[in-house]
């Protein structure tokens, strides 16, 4: 099950990436890297902070500037990057498995556009000003988009097939995009607020955003990690999965719900960060082959590494200003991704 005809045909030169032990060790190494990145994310920035200060900040509860920066800015920012990064990466991996389409990501399937549309509409209708209230509208929009996509795709005899899911997502995305742009063009207030949310950043995201969104993401992550075997079944195609005794419709429904939780909450918390949901799952697949029991944990660990590293780089290159994490991801991450795609023999979806 771990090889596909496609990769067999290409006579894959790297047998190591089908090797369970090697993949396990790789995962442990990545967890170590993630820990280092987290420490870097807390200590590095416009204001450099020593390692000891982190412990002091939480043990002594003193009010020094360092302690305040750590407690109120750096730690929540790092935690959001950690959880939201993992959530975005996992949701991308789930969507790509569900639709068996390499272009599927929370962006093209209407989740980001649904969240944007609900935010600008709420601003235009109710004049909302606070970022913390956006979260619920963003979440509602993402969930609505996912429900419509799944509902539309489920019509008809064969149910929510990959092609129909992908197209329904694209259509719903197009519709919400039109709503967003229409509101933004006619309502200056909405445009102004939207600009900040749409950038997609970890800057300015602190405890309130974390508290509201993290529970959804944690539940979504736990559910998502159990889906590896089911996604392997879906990857074989509808008929084969049914023949293997899998309840395809139920698997699809569970995947859709967990994607709504993961991507909805993550997008609500830190705006649409497309790169992580779209590219990191491909990187995970390039590293560990087509087995979703490995792709999911690799996406889980790799995504926050990528997101937090980009965030740290963004903080350091333009001191004392910041480069948005989305810009860093695209400019540095995209070439790295292309290099990876060229180097590896790819396991197709």
């Amino acid at each position: 099950m771990t090889t596909t005809t496609a990769s067999l045909r290409q006579a894959a030169p790297t047998p190591s990436h089908r090797n369970g032990a090697a993949l396990g060790i790789g995962l442990v190494v990545l967890v170590g890297v993630l820990a280092v990145v987290c420490v870097m994310s807390i200590t590095l920035g416009t204001r450099g902070i020593g390692l000891g200060a982190i412990i002091d900040a939480f043990r002594d509860r003193d009010d020094s500037v360092d302690a305040t920066v750590i407690r109120d800015l750096r730690v929540p920012r790092t935690l959001i990057g950690l959880v939201a990064g993992a959530a975005l990466g996992l949701s991308g991996a789930l969507l790509q498995g569900l639709t068996r389409n390499p272009l599927a990501d929370p962006g093209i399937l209407g989740i980001n556009t649904g969240a944007s549309a609900f935010i600008v509409t709420s601003i235009a209708l109710f004049g909302l000003q606070q970022m913390t209230t956006y979260i619920w509208f963003a979440f509602l929009g993402a969930a609505t988009a996912m429900v419509i996509v799944y509902g539309v795709a489920s019509f008809g005899r064969e149910g929510a097939t990959p092609v129909k899911l992908a197209l329904a997502g694209a259509a719903v995305s197009a519709g919400f995009y039109a709503i967003t742009t229409g509101v933004v063009v006619t309502n200056v207030d909405a445009l102004n607020q939207m600009r900040f949310w749409q950038v997609g950043a970890l800057a300015g995201r602190y405890w309130p955003e974390l508290e509201r969104s993290a529970p959804f993401m944690v539940v979504g992550i736990l559910v998502a990690l159990t889906l590896g075997r089911s996604l392997n079944g879906l990857a074989l195609g509808n008929d084969m999965a049914v023949a293997l005794g899998q309840n395809v419709a139920r698997t699809r429904a569970i995947v859709v719900v967990s994607v709504a939780l993961l991507a909805g909450a993550a997008t609500a918390a830190c705006g649409p960060i497309v790169f992580v949901g779209l590219v990191v799952p491909h990187a995970a697949r390039a590293l560990c082959g087509p087995d979703y029991r490995w792709i999911l944990p690799y996406s889980l660990v790799l995504s926050p590494i990528v997101l937090l590293t980009a965030d740290v780089i963004g903080r350091l290159v333009l001191k004392p200003g910041e480069l948005q994490v989305g810009v860093v991801l695209g400019v540095l991450g995209a070439p790295a991704f292309i290099a990876l795609v060229r180097k590896r023999s790819l396991a197709q979806l």
Binding site: L103, Y177, A178, G330
Partner: protein, 351 residues
């Protein structure tokens, strides 16, 4: 003009008993779509602050009108915009379906695998940093799109190009361009940023005479070429080995088809900006209208033209304030595609 291609493919694929019925349906679909596009083409020239009857528009177009003010309104003011809508729609609809079929992926339209983003980066840079005029911006967009297409093809080349690797490399290039656009827009002066944003939304009203003329010439040459090459597309869909067995030189066919599609989308984007979602939804809509699994290139191009023309009527005349076309194209095409998805049970591969 497409009849030989249609007959050729149909004859190759369909057994003779059902063939006649299917061919009749395919012809009927093309005829209906043509009528719809022509009707919308005339409609866009009827509406506006000065309303005209369909008869007046047609008379003026055919040179039978004796009212110079009507002639001025129709020929000088409205015809260029309507023609742009028609040409941009045809180009986007055609290149969208060629990409989707060639890459065997219904989401792989040129605006999701980096071509439009290449055009956008070049245009935004030339607006914000170099303060170029409209024609130069269009030229930059054209160069950017062609360069992005070439870059993706070369980077995806590894003893041949697979659709899958092309898509992944396209995603990378696209993300790189989007990041650059975001950075440039954030750093730009507000005035420049708004001008760039306006370009990025896309509007057929912004096309200059020169851009339109080049796009029209390209369409006249490339549309028949693409329709003739549609034959290869059908063979390529069966897989490289099968296509080879059918006598298609796979890599040549792919390069030529990709080049035609990229040039069309580049010229359309240079003329009107990256009008969103037309290239994406035209193909799937056409596949579900035709339903026979027969050739969809011409239907898809016509659907694209209908979408852009209809979107422009809605955006300019039905909204409280006139909007750019690109705002509305998504709203016009999406509900129809959703309805088709929910009602038509066809699983076209790559469309």
């Amino acid at each position: 003009m497409s009849a030989p291609a249609i007959v050729g493919v149909a004859a190759a694929v369909v057994p003779s008993s059902a063939r006649r019925h299917r061919r009749r349906r395919e012809r009927a679909v093309v005829a209906v779509l043509l009528a719809v596009v022509l009707a919308l083409f005339v409609l866009t020239m009827m509406v506006g602050s000065y309303r005209l009857s369909p008869l007046a528009v047609v008379e003026s177009l055919l040179g039978l009108s004796d009212d110079p003010s009507v002639d001025f309104i129709v020929r000088d003011l409205r015809l260029p915009v309507a023609t742009t809508g028609l040409a941009v729609g045809l180009a986007l609809g055609l290149s969208g379906i060629v990409f989707q079929k060639l890459l065997a992926n219904p989401l792989a339209s040129p605006d999701f695998v980096g071509i439009s983003q290449g055009a956008s980066v070049a245009a935004v840079l030339s607006i914000v940093i170099f303060h170029l005029g409209a024609v130069a911006v269009a030229g930059a967009a054209l160069a950017g799109a062609l360069l992005a297409g070439l870059l993706i093809y070369l980077l995806a080349w590894k003893g041949g190009v697979t659709g899958y690797r092309f898509i992944l490399v396209g995603i990378g290039v696209s993300e790189f361009c989007i990041a650059l656009i975001g950075y440039v827009l954030a750093k730009a002066q507000l005035f420049d940023a708004r001008e760039a944003m306006a370009w990025l939304v896309g509007s057929i009203g912004q096309a200059g005479a020169l851009q339109l003329r080049i796009l029209l010439v390209a369409l006249v040459v490339l549309l028949p070429v693409a329709l003739l090459l549609g034959r290869w597309l059908g063979a390529l869909e069966l897989g490289d080995d099968a296509a080879h067995a059918l006598g298609v030189r796979v890599e040549v066919a792919r390069v030529v088809l990709l080049a035609v599609a990229i040039v069309l989308v580049a010229l359309a984007t240079a003329a009107a900006g990256p009008v969103s979602f037309v290239a994406l939804v035209s193909g799937p809509i056409a596949v579900r209208i035709v339903r026979t699994g027969g050739p969809v290139l011409l239907p898809s191009a016509l659907v694209g033209a209908a979408l852009v023309l209809l979107a422009d009527v809605v955006a300019v005349h039905l909204m409280p304030a006139a909007l750019p076309t690109g705002v509305v194209t998504g709203a016009v095409g999406a509900p129809y595609l959703i309805w088709l998805l929910a009602t038509v049970n066809s699983e076209g591969r790559g469309g």
